[in-house]
Structures are given as C-alpha cells and as structure tokens.
C-alpha cells in the first residue's frame, strides 16, 4: 500500500469484507439409532440462512437481533471458528470461508475477535503479560523477550492499564478491566479487522461506557474496522456506521445507523425500536410488542416474521421476501415495503389477534 495519506472518502470506499449468500446449518437430529427406531426425522437448524452484507474499511458494521437470530454464528463464521455450509466470505477480495487452519493462519493476525464474557475468555492460570504476549509469540512479531515486554507494556497503556498490571492474574481485575485485557490481546497482532461479539453485554453501564469510548478511540488511532454484534439497540446506535437487523438467520434490514433509527422500514426493526425503554420519558406512542421468536428448527413459512407482523398478507405467509435495494444504502427484505403498504412514522397498531 502506498504511503500517501488516505482521505476519509477513499477510506470508506474500499470493501474490506464481503459476505454473500452465507449459510451455516447445524444438524441437531436425534442420534442415528433413535431416528431409525422412533422414525424421528433429521432436523436441521438453519442458524444463518443466506445473508449478504459488505463492510467497508474503517467503518463499524453492527448486527443486531434477539437471541437465536444467528448473529453470533455470523461472527464465528467470519473469524473461521465455523466453516460455512454455503456461500462466500471475502476478505479483501479473497474467499476465506472454509479455509483450513494452516491456510487461515496468516489471516488470523489481521482478523481478531473480542468475546462477550471476559471471565471465560482469559486463561485464569496465566499472567496478563503472557496472555497479551501470546499473539506476539504465535505470530513471531517480536524478535526477543525485551521487545515482547516493551510491546506488552505499550498495549496495556493503549487500553488505559499500566505495564505493571501485566504481572497480575486475570482474577485480580474487575469485569471492565478484563475486557480491556481482551482488547489489548486482540490488538497485539496489529489486526485490521475486529469481530466484537457482545463485548459490553456482561458489563455494568458505567463500565460499558468506558469500553465503548475506548473502542472508538482505538478505531480512530489504528484505523480499525469493526463487526459489532449486540442485542442492545442503544449501544448499536452509538457505535455503528451501518446496521444489519437479523431475524431467524436472515437479514431483515440493512441501513446506515442514523437512517435505521430515524426511519425504520422493516416491521421487525420498528418493533425492536419500540421495545427500547423511553429514557426521555416523552410518553411517545409505541407499537405493542407481541409474540416471541419462533423455534428456528421449524421456522414459519414465507417471511419468517409473518406470525408477529401486523401487516402480514397471504403473500407473506407463502413467499420468502428477498432483500431489495431501496437506495441510500438501505436494503429491506419485506413484501409490505415492496408493495408500499407499510406506513412510515412511529405509530403502528398491533394485529387484532395479538392485541
């Protein structure tokens, strides 16, 4: 890459990661003998069922959805912890889906992950300096121990800890500090792309604010690209440039964050937005939330959201909608939006059956 300073515009125009028709199925059938004896059918859980999105260099793309919607599976597919059943994951134009461990190794340096639970993702028997030095040793990034020590100290100070903290064990830290250690470890190999799977969900709000601020600072400093997974819409609004809303393994809507929150198009997005507690206490009118996420093993026919959707028609029950480009980077998979029969604006009535 040339040493010429890249401008904001050119930064955000390069696609870093592109996912197309990505699918991941899990076989959750009973054991073979049970199937034979009890005549139980094979059961396939379609955790991720055909999704497409692009992440541009330097931006934060978030996936949001309720539990079981497949957002964490997407994260794991991208870092190579799962192999895709079908579809492509292109990192800088090269398909990395289903690469072997050996082929994936050089990419691992550039693609790192931060996990949800800072209590489970740090080895309790290792000192913090060894935890952070592990990527340095694994990728041979420093020539000697002196270099490693210097770099570990530097990484600790990036995340607002002190080099002296390296001597301690993870249990000596609070949840927020542990998450800082996870971030320092992820940054150790100088990655370009970080997959953050619910990095603040296990933390208290005041600590969450510290971590979110830190992540924004680090992004600016190291030109990081984030894939951010969360169920918390307010956090997603705060951190994202663009957002994908997932429901039962598919993307319901993808849009720039400000557009998505100001003018949600898909009925599911609107329902999610209406569940957010109203801290401003304006007493705004909201769509009453109804129903639950169906069992993903036996998803509803047609559009998987139709049983909860106030606007569902016969077409929605039989035909699955495909994402349509509505312009200005907005993609929505909804027949109602296509047929222009979903009212825009904040107030929607619940379907009579669910009232």
């Amino acid at each position: 890459m040339s040493e010429v300073m890249r401008t904001e515009a050119s930064l955000s125009d390069t696609t870093m990661l592109e996912v197309s028709n990505l699918k991941r199925y899990f076989d959750v059938s009973r054991p073979f003998l049970n199937r034979v004896l009890e005549g139980a059918p094979r059961q396939i859980l379609k955790a991720v069922n055909g999704i497409d999105f692009k992440i541009k260099k330097g931006e934060t793309f978030s996936l949001v959805g309720e539990s079981g919607c497949g957002k964490s599976t997407v994260a794991r597919l991208i870092v190579g912890l799962y192999a895709p059943t079908e579809g492509k994951i292109e990192f800088e134009g090269r398909n990395i889906g289903g690469l072997s461990r050996r082929e994936m190794a050089p990419l691992r340096r550039r693609l790192q992950m931060i996990f949800q639970d800072p209590y489970a993702s740090l080895n309790p028997r290792w000192r913090v300096r060894d935890i952070i030095a592990e990527p340095l040793r694994a990728f041979d990034l420093e020539s000697d121990e002196v270099g490693i020590e210097r770099r570990v100290g530097e990484l600790l100070s990036f995340v607002k800890l002190t080099p002296a903290d390296g001597e301690k064990f993870p249990h000596e830290f609070s949840g927020g500090q542990r998450q800082r250690i996870s971030i320092a470890r992820a940054l150790a190999s100088q990655p370009d792309f970080l997959v953050c799977d619910e990095p603040t969900s296990a933390l208290d709000v005041s600590v969450q604010a510290q971590i979110l601020n830190l992540m924004k600072d680090l992004q600016r400093e190291f030109e990081l690209t984030y894939l951010f997974i969360s169920h918390n819409l307010a956090v997603v609004y705060h951190i994202s440039d663009r957002v994908g809303v997932m429901y039962l393994g598919q993307l319901a809507e993808v849009a720039p964050a400000t557009t998505l929150f100001r003018d949600p198009r898909h009925p599911y997005t609107r329902m999610l937005l209406d569940t957010i507690p109203d801290l401003d206490m304006t007493g705004r009118q909201r769509m009453p939330v109804a129903g639950e996420v169906p069992n993903p093993i036996t998803p509803p026919s047609g559009c998987s959201f139709h049983p909860r959707c106030p606007f569902a028609t016969d077409r929605c029950k039989s035909e699955a909608p495909l994402p349509r480009d509505l312009g200005s980077e907005v993609f929505v998979a909804c027949h109602g939006v296509e047929e222009n029969r979903i009212p825009r604006g904040p107030v929607i009535d619940a379907p009579p059956a669910l009232r």
Binding site: D204, L233, L279, M281, V289
Partner: protein, 324 residues
C-alpha cells in the same frame, strides 16, 4: 403509614478475612400500590436488600442491625416458619432466572395449585380453576393445555409469565422483583414489564423492582432509589432522578447510558469501578470516582439528606437540604 419500612438495615457477611458489610445502614419505604425501583451496578447491594426483605439471605449473610416492617409489624426477626407464611401470602418474589425459580419436576399447574393451597383454604378444584385464571391473566395462550405442561416446555418469556402468576396467586401486598427481565430478550422484556405494571396496578400490589437497567426503571417505577457500594446515594421521583439527577454518581450513570437519537460521539464516563466490599473508601464511598470531590468527601461520610421530593447523600446538597 407506609406498607414496607426499612430502617438502618445492615447486612453483613462474616468471612475468614473479617466481616464484610454488603448493605450499610439503608432506610427506605414503599407505599401501598407504589413501584419503587432500586437501581445500581453489580455489587451495589441492591439484591441483598431485596433478599433481606423477603427473608432469603443466603448464609453466612445476616441482618446485623436495623428493622424491616411490613404494615408496622417487624418481619426481619421472625422464625423461619412464620416468615414462610408471609412470603407468598403477603410478599411475593420474582427472580431473574425463571428456569431456576420453577421446579422442573412438577407441572406448572401443580406448582400454582400447591402455592394457592398453602396460603388459602381452597379445594383442589377451586385452586385449579384459579390457576387457570391466573395463566389467562398473565397472557399464556391455550392455558387449558399449558397448565399440565412442565417448565421446560415453556419459552423463557412464558416461564417468566408463570413466575409472575406464582407471585401473584394469593394477591400479595408487595412483590420483590429482582432483575425480572434481565435474562430475557428485548422484545420479551417489554412485554413482561408491561404485564407486571398492568397486573400490579390492577391488584394494587406494591413492587420493589431491583434492576441494573435504568430503562426498565424509567418505564415502570414511581420512585427510584439509586444504590452505590451498599448505601443509598439518592432517592426521588423517577422523573426527577432520570432527568435531573442530583448525586454525581446518578449523574454519571445517566450520562453513561447510550440513548438513541442523542448524537454524542463519546459517552460520559465515570472513571474507575465500584469499590470491592473489602476496600470501601473512607468518607463518601464514591469519592475516588467523583469529579466534584472535596477534602470533606474524603473524610466524612454523607448521610442521606432530605430534598424537596426525596433524599440525597452528598455534601454538595447540604445547603439545599438545610432549607427543606
């Protein structure tokens, strides 16, 4: 007279390294039919306070000092059996994880019937009819079929509805709900909050809602008590606490919550973390994190001072408090 009064409650945990004070001289009250939100971060002592009220402190935790009065009657020193009749009949409890608060070996109906029969003299047939009524009330579809199913056959949200039905089944006067929606998805959370709110106002039940989620409190509570390091930092009407927080901790807490539509590039952050119980700072426990701390805050512990509509434990408000 308030329905529930707590005076100078102290909850302690004896450990090998000395006695830890998890709840340190807190006083609060809940009126008939009122929803009091108790909010704070992990380790603030909010669940301990709730558990002390329902008499379910886990040993070695114990109430060291203070009084808890229900309708003017002390309930903190009752023998186990007497407390057991109060719990369920007069105070209901809802916990965070609906799967652990239901018995997996009994059907939902059996559990409801048992609870109803323990506290009333209904016949089994009457109790079952009441159980069905309750399931309808909490919005469980096809209750005639669901009543004979086991908890594992219910989804998380439906289970929490059953737990609410159990808590409400003999019309208690107070419900202690400890993080009732934390384990649930956002869309389910909104439904459970709406349900709890509706049922409690219909039945005139008072609620002590313990949660870390300010959003839940803003939606539900009439008054809020903000806890920090085992003490109450601030109490006041929900609007006042959410919109015009007095205590610097509440102020920081509110600022650290990301809000949709507010285009702040950075969230206000409170540096540091809540102190561990083993090293609570002298003076005001919040002083190491407080941007407005003075020498006095390092030295003297502020007691809750009255304000026009609540209380605040912060030296900054001493003058204001003197005028009330």
């Amino acid at each position: 007279m308030a329905l529930l009064e707590v005076h100078d409650l102290v909850v302690e945990f004896p450990t090998r390294r000395g006695v830890l004070t998890a709840v340190d001289e807190i006083s609060l009250h809940i009126d008939e039919g009122e929803v009091l939100g108790v909010v704070g971060e992990s380790g603030a002592g909010k669940s301990m306070t709730g558990n002390a009220i329902i008499g379910l402190l886990e040993p070695p935790g114990r109430i060291a000092r203070g009084e808890i009065l229900l309708d003017g009657r002390r309930i903190d020193n009752l023998p186990y059996d007497q407390m057991r009749t109060i719990r369920g009949k007069e105070i209901g409890a809802i916990f965070q994880d609906p799967l652990t608060s239901l018995n997996p070996l009994y059907t939902v109906g059996e559990q409801l019937v048992e609870t109803i029969q323990t506290h009333t003299d209904m016949t089994p047939t009457q109790a079952r009819a009441r159980a069905l009524e309750l399931l309808i009330e909490v919005g469980i579809p096809a209750p005639e079929r669901r009543v004979d199913q086991y908890p594992h056959q219910f989804s998380g949200g439906m289970r929490q509805r059953v737990v609410i039905a159990l808590a409400l089944c003999v019309n208690p006067r107070l419900i202690v709900a400890d993080e009732p929606t934390t384990a649930l998805d956002v869309s389910i959370q909104a439904q459970i909050i709406a349900l709890l709110k509706r049922l409690c106002s219909e039945h005139g039940t008072a609620v002590m809602l313990v949660t870390h989620d300010m959003g839940v409190i803003a939606e539900t509570a009439d008054r809020v008590a903000v806890m920090y390091a085992g003490r109450i930092a601030e109490v006041g009407p929900v609007k006042q606490v959410v919109k015009r927080a007095r205590h610097p901790y509440t102020h920081g807490l509110m600022g650290s919550i990301p809000v949709i539509g507010h285009d702040a590039d950075r969230l206000t952050q409170i540096e540091g973390a809540m102190p561990r119980l083993t090293d609570i700072p002298t003076g005001c426990a919040f002083n190491p994190r407080c941007p407005q701390a003075t020498d006095r805050c390092l030295r003297d512990r502020p007691e809750p001072m009255p304000t026009e509509d609540g209380q605040v434990a912060c030296w900054l408000f001493e003058k204001e408090a003197a005028h009330v």
